[in-house]
Symmetry: C2
DNA sequence: CTATGTGAACAGCTTCACAGCG
DNA sequence: CGCTGTGAAGCTGTTCACATAG
């Protein structure tokens, strides 16, 4: 059974990668795949692949491998990609607009249902993108979250206001935040936060490059 | 000494966070800080903070803490943030334009010296941003890298061409790639790759949220 | 008495290696 | 044979605890 198993966080991230690759295989009409092939195409060891699936049950057949359509469906079920997930965006600056226009979200079952900002010059503006949205004031967040049963939000506001806006999101019922502001969020309540800080990534790369060459 | 010490990769990421916080403290006129205070403001344990600095030498004074200005300078030196680092961008789509306009890079010592794309409709277009750039054809990359001594590049092209463009970057002399395309890059040569896949981040959040609530 | 620096204990994730099934 | 599933071993990074310095 899979119920209260202890799943390493990195395994969940890899599950997304497996799914992406499985969809590619399925699109190419492939029927089965071995842990070795799947792992090799993603730079992961075969043992790692089997372990990762092992956290959620038994999907493969010894001597054969994994059936691609079945495994794809099972992984979708685990990640919840089989259902549409509604998300909101707070902060319609440069990054926010790029997020609105990004097609990758819709491909993975995420639907952006609202774009919020408090800049008077932005409110009411119709944004381009897969699904046109009109920018609404941040104060509308509670009603948006309630009416669309939103659980996850994208936070792309300037650093100085990120903490305060994030708490508002949580208070409105959001349970997971993908944070692009370069600050550590301290939030009351049961929330998951995942931060993407572009400058930190760049600094790490720059360090590795110079450490390697030095 | 700090020479051939084995530094955990997560420690380098945290170093960026420490630096950000130290700059905030310095801006507030604070003279010293303890590992406990610095860590607490970032959600890191005090022991972790001391270990991390320990990989690079001894910076603090027992009974007092760390002197903020000195530590800031030392960390800048370690990360190379004290020198300007030139970077190039390949791929001027929605995300690429957001990256051009992003002010966070310049604040951390990174300078975008060129934006490259192969779409004829984009070449020659002047982009807005901190420093206006004219989009150039990707074929120019080798000369750009040579003339500006570029080591690090941002890759924001569509997934199907990412692999090929990445190898071109490496062949042109780039040593570190921040990859936004949702594919695993397999590159010949001594390169560091850091991938940011927004859909993967969202899927992980969605999983955590539903696993928690279920 | 406060706070650093660090070896030692610990935990979590990955790799290994092999039993067992097809 | 080939390949999965999985306990055991190994490794890497984090936490603990204390000697040491101010």
């Amino acid at each position: 059974m899979a119920a209260a198993e202890q799943v390493p966080i990195p395994a969940i991230r890899r599950l997304s990668l497996y799914l992406r690759q499985l969809e590619a295989f399925q699109g190419a009409g492939r029927q089965t795949v071995s842990s070795r092939d799947l792992g090799h195409s993603l730079g992961v060891s075969d043992a790692q692949v089997r372990k990762d699936f092992g956290y959620f049950g038994q999907f493969g057949r010894p001597g054969v491998g994994y059936r691609v359509p079945e495994l794809t469906e099972r992984v979708r079920g685990i990640l919840g990609t089989d259902k549409k997930t509604s998300v909101v965006l707070v902060g319609v600056g440069n990054l926010g607009r790029a997020l609105i226009a990004y097609r990758g979200f819709a491909k993975r079952g995420f639907e952006l249902v609202a774009a919020l900002d408090d800049d008077p010059g932005k409110i009411g503006v119709r944004t381009p993108g897969p699904k046109p949205l009109v920018v609404r004031p941040v104060a509308d967040i509670a009603s948006v979250v309630r009416s669309h049963a939103v659980r996850v939000g994208l936070l792309a506001v300037p650093a100085p206001v990120a903490q305060q806006v994030a708490q508002l999101m949580v208070d409105s019922g959001i349970r997971g935040i993908l944070n692009f502001a370069p600050v550590m969020l301290r939030l009351n309540g049961d929330v998951s936060v995942s931060s993407v800080d572009l400058a930190v990534h760049l600094e790490q790369l720059a360090f590795q490059v110079s450490a390697c060459g030095a």
